[in-house]
Amino acid sequence: MAAVSTAVARPSGLWLAFRRNRLSWVGLVLLAAIVLIAALAPLIAPYDPIEQHIAYRLEPPSAEFLLGTDTYGRDVLSRLIHGARISLIVAFAAVAIAMVVGTFIGVVSGYVGGMFDQVMMGVLDVKLAFPTLLLGLMIAAILGASLENLIIAIAVTEIAPFARIARAPTIALKQRDFIEAGRALGFGPLRIMGVHILPNMIADVVVMGSLWMATAIRTEASLSFIGLGVKPPTPTWGGMIREGFENILTAWWLAVFPSLAILLTVLALNLLGDALRDAIDPKLRAE
Amino acid sequence: MSVDDIVLDIRDLTTEFLVGGRWHAAVRGLSLALRRNETLAVVGESGSGKSVAALSLLRLLPQAGARIGGGEIRFAGRNLVALSEDDMAEIRGNAIAMIFQEPMTALNPTMTVGAQIAEAVLTHRRVSRAEAVVEAIRLLEEVRIPSAASRVHDYPHQFSGGMRQRVMIAMALACRPSVLLADEPTTALDVTIQAQVLALLSELKTAHGLAVLFITHNLGVVAQIADRVAVMHAGEVVELAPVGELFARPLHPYTAALLRAMPRVDVDSEDLEPIPGQVPSIAAVLPGCAFAPRCSFRQPGCVQERPPLVAIDAGHEHFVRCPVRAPAQEPTP
């Protein structure tokens, strides 16, 4: 039985959005570059990111160390490149988890309806009332600072929006005739949800995913900055800025470069996400 | 009716829209004269350019992508097309006023009805706020809103559709204009309310000696209130006549088709004939008569040249733009 599409990003719509909005190309290229750099980190980075060059501590950018060195004599550029890996992995993993869990909750809640749905929505409302940073902060503080806990903390903060965006179309589609027909034919709820309801919202969910990646990166950086992130000496952008902050009077390069890295990545993701969103639903456009 | 009674003289007005990078005319060479104490109805299907024409008169077209491409609008000895925006704003709501189709969305939901009417007064007259509100109450009474003194402090959503339209009328007449442009003001109303509003408009027209340009697609409404009728198709007037004459002797094939397509009490609905085809989009207008593709009287000569508007009676009251039914013998009016 064919699934009726309610919100599919038609290739033409996607092209149109990209063509109209030239900035989205910038976003795409930028993001591709960053991902490439992160993927090829061990090959590109000039030095080992945790190797300490004691003799060259706190050196400003030079020919040898293009972006300078930190308090332990580690090459900032190499740390930056490897940091890209960590940050992207954390953000991607967190969003992926949030997407899967959130969508699942949303679809089930919307499909089952009734009291269960109301309670679920109440819980999500409570969760949504917490600011992202504070919630992530609490969870990371409770669980302890580590890569896995960081991913979990960020994922938890992002579940609710995905649940919301999965629930609405589920409720709308629940009434449609072909669902009734499926039920009459004896399809179990899981099959209906998985095969018939889910494909219709994939597009929306993916778009949300890209937008929330940007938030995930910012949350990760903020948490690392506060000290709740991955433990040193593993490089993360937020952690590097923290170190830069501590040495702000003497070593400006420690804070500036990871800041630019974060900014560029978030910007790229935002541009891309905006373009994707325009492709999906022209009504959502700001114009 | 003498020439002195002409209040608004539209001469060869052309209004264009930017579509796909090129300018296309939505109103083509429109010529109409509005007279004092007269209701001129402008009829046509959607897309005929009637609303655009009215908006052009007050230069209310969207700033980007629309322009007046030619012609004159003579009013009070001046050409409105050539006026500055400031001068034009002086005339809007003052000497020439306009009412619109959807009373719910046409009123500001966050301002009281009294404030909106008072605004019309305060924009053009040097009076105090208090005086403007008093005037607003008086205007509400004139359009027969009950308990005007208390309702003047109410918001638009607290009124019914018909009452909102009355409020719009009150607002339009606040500065005693000499011309009232009405763009389908009763289309969104119930039939009974519609009759009330039309009666009100008639009364006010006579009381104030207004020249009313009444746009509608409903011939029934035309029969009720119009003195003269202009039938528009694809941006131009195809027939112009006093109302009785139009209904009795519709000459242009389009007019005749409109009448045949109109539901009437005395005609069985099986005998209704919808007009084949559609009004051409502004980017698709062909040379010659724009109605030709849909016309059953079509001749080869119809698609060659744009037919002129020709008077078919001695008194120059009935004009038709059709080479078949009204071949050109004399110069256009």
Binding site: T132, M138, S222, I226, L263 | T110, A120, Y155
Partner: protein, 312 residues
């Protein structure tokens, strides 16, 4: 209107309750024994037991929960493990600073955000619009601490116009100097956000029929924009800005940390560093209450500003 307000107030309570419960549960999830954390691993069992009793940790969970809720109602948010002072006292001490910062940022954000947003909407697709959109896009891409650090670097470290370490000093002049950069940081982000919302809201409103009616009355452009445009655009703007409060708290915390300003943010950092979970819990309660209050006020404001809700 009364009914609307009452409904909003009633709905706020379960949400607050839920938030408090979440806080309660999360803090109880801390691995390890709280008493041991405070007294250290070396402490003898008797002392540990005494402390546990004092902290109420030996009670069954639901009793602890009820005590917790009761405490919140009576204003007892617990005591800081580090300083021993009631949480509310700690909060009261730094609250003026946080309020000052938030108010300044809000002021900046609202004034410039509205201004730029209206400008961008009115001059759509012209230079002002593009610049505005770029500014808002970039402004919203900065995590609050990143922009804060960059501002610190440029204006305090390099140019020396403002103190680096938060500075002290007495008197309004010193206060202003200390406030300037953090307020600018927070304010810029708010401006970017409000500008974006204002622009889209104004664009939607400017396309409405009543704008055309106003023009048809001869009302001049500026009045049309202000009286008919902005007044209607403000309704959704207020709602959106109210919802932003949560993010504002997060940004404010980061800003206080970066600029070394006393405030709730610094308290949180301190609590994290000393593992003062009691203080952390108390602070979270404070935030939760603030958020619920602001959300409810926003809802009420909406009902107040939109006549369609006010006069039902």
């Amino acid at each position: 209107m009364i009914r609307y307000a009452a409904l909003r107030l009633v709905l706020a309570v379960p949400t607050l309750l839920g938030m408090l419960t979440v806080i309660f549960v999360l803090v109880r999830l801390v691995p390890g024994d709280a008493a041991m954390v405070i007294l250290g691993e070396q402490a003898n069992e008797a002392a540990l037991q005494a402390l546990r009793s004092k902290l109420g940790l030996d009670q069954p969970l639901y009793v602890q929960y009820l005590d917790f809720l009761g405490g919140v109602l009576t204003g007892d948010f617990g005591r800081s493990l580090a300083s021993g002072r009631p949480v509310l006292d700690e909060v009261r001490f730094v609250l003026p600073y946080t309020i000052e910062l938030t108010a300044a940022a809000l002021g900046l954000g609202v004034i410039f955000g509205l201004l730029l947003g209206v400008l961008a909407a009115v001059r759509r697709n012209q230079a002002a619009d593009y610049l505005g959109r770029i500014f808002s896009l970039v402004g919203l891409s900065f995590p609050a601490f990143v922009s804060g650090i960059l501002l610190l670097l440029v204006f305090a470290v390099e140019l020396g116009w403002f103190p680096v370490l938060g500075g002290g000093g007495e008197g309004p002049a010193a206060g202003l100097r200390n406030l300037a950069l953090p307020a600018l940081n927070l304010g810029l982000i708010m401006t970017a956000y409000i500008m974006r919302v204002t622009r889209s809201s104004m664009l939607a409103v400017l396309g409405e029929d009543y704008i055309r009616t106003a023009r048809a009355k001869g009302v001049r452009a500026r009045q049309v924009i202000m009286r008919h445009g902005l007044r209607n655009a403000l309704i959704p703007i207020i709602t959106v800005v109210g919802l932003y409060f949560g993010t504002l708290i997060g940004n404010s915390v980061l800003t206080e940390i970066v600029f070394n300003r006393p405030g709730l943010g610094k308290l949180i950092l301190g609590a994290l560093n000393t593992r003062d979970y009691a203080l952390l819990q108390g602070l979270m309660i404070v935030f939760a209450i603030c958020i619920i209050v602001v959300n409810t006020l926003t809802d009420l404001a909406y009902g107040f500003v939109d006549p369609r809700v006010k006069y039902k």
